[in-house]
Symmetry: C2
Subunit: 134 residues, 2 copies
DNA sequence: TTCCAATATTAGAATAGCTCTAAAATTCGT
DNA sequence: ACGAATTTTAGAGCTATTCTAATATTGGAA
């Protein structure tokens, strides 16, 4: 994908080994992994023991730095998404899979709610069935 | 507002004292209360001690019965909404207040995402500032 | 280079939100 | 009024996350 060291530096995050493998995992993943999935998938790649706290710290750091997005579905744990473009989500109600939907596809949703509201941003979550494989 | 006994019966939920005061509290509330807020606001209205489990059980029962909606914001506890019409939400980012937005106002969001997706439903959450008081 | 300060990481405790469990209380039909 | 079914309860348990305080690592300044 991309050089992780540069990726982190670009977002002003010091590239430590833990951060590199964590960011790499999320960037490689198409599946909007949870913190726990990241922890599981990444732990053995490191020479030293990895703490869950480090996973959470790192994810929070990367989200704050704008390198990742935190995605909240209807309930359950937060999920992490390396797609930081403006987008929404589509959740396959059968499989639970999460798809990114480009904001352009949802442009019709003009922020014209009436006089009383000034919209900063909005998020749309679709539920349905997807034919796409992944 | 409405007679709670009939309200519960209409949704095939047996009207017990606990359920009556819990449903009443949510119906009266404009603020999308959390389970804990409901527990706090309701406990002293009952002659006997109220358990949190009862609050959760009752809310789940009412949601399943279609009498209430469960609303998930970006993070934090679930919130409960007696507006069961098709609607979305507006969150004031300054105050945290949650407003219902009628689905008609968001109709432009035609479920035409392309060939790959069949949309069952979608939810929209707006973030911004509201002039409305409540 | 070596010391110090700043930063990062760790294990585990703590917290929040919610569900589960098993016992007690209540309700309902006979 | 009796037994079965349902509801409620207190508290244990679980999941997701943050906090804490100790340890490890890093990165200058001398």
């Amino acid at each position: 994908m991309e050089n992780m060291e540069k990726f982190l530096q670009k977002h002003n995050v010091k590239p430590t080994p833990q951060r590199m493998v964590i960011a790499q995992f999320v960037v490689n993943s198409k599946s909007h992994p949870t913190a726990d999935q990241i922890f599981q998938g990444v732990a053995e790649q490191l020479p030293v023991a990895l703490s869950r706290a480090t996973v959470y710290n790192t994810l929070n750091t990367l989200v704050q730095a704008g390198a990742l997005k935190e995605v909240y579905l209807e309930s359950g744990p937060a999920r992490y998404d390396a797609n930081i473009n403006d987008h929404h989500h589509f959740i396959d109600v059968k499989t639970g899979k999460v798809f990114d939907i480009d904001a352009d596809k949802v442009k019709a949703l003009a922020p014209e709610l009436g006089a009383g509201f000034k919209v900063h941003h909005y998020s749309v979550t679709f539920f349905g069935e997807s034919k796409a494989a992944d």
